[in-house]
Amino acid sequence: MARILLITSLIGSLFMAANVAAATRIRCASTTSTQNSGLFEYLLPIFEKKTGIKVDVVAVGTGAAIEIGKRGDADVVMVHAKDLELKAVEEGAFVNRHDLMYNDFVIIGPANDPLRIRGMKSVADAFKKIPAQGAEFVSRGDKSGTHTKELAIWKTAGLDPKGQKWYLEVGQGMEKTQRLANEKRAYTLTDRGTWLATRDKDKLEMMVVLEGDPVLFNQYGVMAVNPAKHQQVKYKEAMAFVDWLISPEGQKAIGDFKDQHGNQLFIPNAK
């Protein structure tokens, strides 16, 4: 009997803990690249101190993050695939989407660059070279923002890599994908933030072989889940977070954020 009482009270206290916390907690679905870079660990305490709102981050790929928002399982979504974001806004799933910040994608490959991609200007041309010369390409394969960008480049290059022997779809986060590419001596597309943050730590014997193609621009956006679709979402608090991120103060915080080597990983560009 005592045991049953104990269990009941334990469950009760758990429910209560969840409810008490609910007043000032919002949930942000975001991407592995923002979480793994340490950006949230830097930004969220500043925001929490100012407003008392605690932001819980669920970090998944961009595709999954948008889906979580569409289902009403998050209050705010911060991802990097502008076309998908605008489409989701058009469908009515989200409101108040804003450009937030950017960095860029780069192509990385083995340090000796066997395909001699280095010096090339067009990513699409470089991608054509990969199967033609028998190299391998590691793809995120997880509907993330990076994966979406990569597929768009293959399309431009006029190639369909799906199912090819040289095309390795790993379904993992960015950092793990880089490590896999490193182990396989393959090429991959990565965001500069993850690359800078992890190349030393992971002892990657790789280098940036192509950068600066305008196609590689990586825009991050933030948007609130449409309260008309999901009444339970904490729209007011979510908008407080969005408004702070795009305010001069939030933008400055994003610009101030540096990785442990002192690199600035995101450049704020909210309008």
Binding site: I11, A18, N36, V58, R71, Q232
Partner: protein, 236 residues
């Protein structure tokens, strides 16, 4: 090889210095898995006892289902639960998704078939003499059942321990319904998965060692209870 050794050294430091973040993660793991197991026992033991002691219709089918449930892949359990608890799902109005409570429910679903199935086996194996003796002594059906369950208590405890082993080691279900939110729903196994993704092998290995230590303790406890049980039977 170098990184493995460095990892172990760092793991040892983290454990010895009682890193507060680490402690929080360990305590939440124990809280979630412990509560899930208690619930699974409260629900599973009566089911196991009923199946062993009463000739109910569809008994064979239920036992087969429970045995299948013992092998239920945690990610599949997690996905089903996610779809139910999502705000777009049938139970979305409770708002449980991405909370420790959702993780408890997930692990309870995983542990329940193990506790129920092994309790059933334990109780079915009790010497029929016990039951007959109880009946002869004028026991009511409830008293009679309690006498048999009491006789099987050590084997039942072993089943409960097996359930704990399953939920402590599980990552697939809780990462889906818990969301692995820092300082809120992040437990040992999900931290190991995340830190491995991030290349922070030290913290991942440290947690791996702690998890192994807990599993080891469970195994030792399991053996202890089994031997107690054997001692009890030979005494009859």
């Amino acid at each position: 090889m170098q990184s493995i050794i460095e990892g172990f050294a760092a793991a040892f430091r983290l454990i010895v210095t009682l890193n507060p973040e680490l402690w929080r993660i360990i305590l939440l793991s124990l809280e979630v898995s412990g509560t899930a197991l208690m619930l699974a026992t409260v629900l599973g033991l009566p089911v196991g006892a009923f199946l062993a002691l009463r000739r109910a219709p569809l008994r064979g089918l239920v036992i087969s289902l429970l045995n299948t449930g013992m092998g239920l892949p945690p990610v599949a359990a997690g996905l089903f639960l996610y779809l139910f608890l999502s705000r777009s799902g049938p139970l979305g109005f409770i708002g449980l998704l991405y909370t420790p409570t959702a993780m408890i429910v997930a692990q309870c679903i995983l542990a329940f078939p193990i506790v129920a199935s092994l309790s059933h086996a334990a109780i079915a194996n009790v010497d029929p003499v016990i039951r007959q003796a109880a009946i002869t002594l004028g026991a009511t059906p409830i008293q009679e059942s309690l006498a048999v369950v009491k006789e099987a208590r050590y084997s039942i405890m072993a089943g409960v321990m097996a359930g704990l082993g399953r939920v402590m080691a599980e990552v697939g279900a809780i990462i889906i319904v818990g969301g692995n939110i820092a300082g809120y729903t992040r437990v040992m196994t999900t931290t190991i998965a995340l830190e491995t993704d991030k290349g922070n092998f030290e913290l991942a290995i440290a947690l791996g060692i702690i998890l192994l230590t807990i599993s080891f303790s469970i195994t030792v406890a399991l053996r202890f209870f089994q031997r107690l049980g054997q001692g009890g039977t030979s005494g009859n």
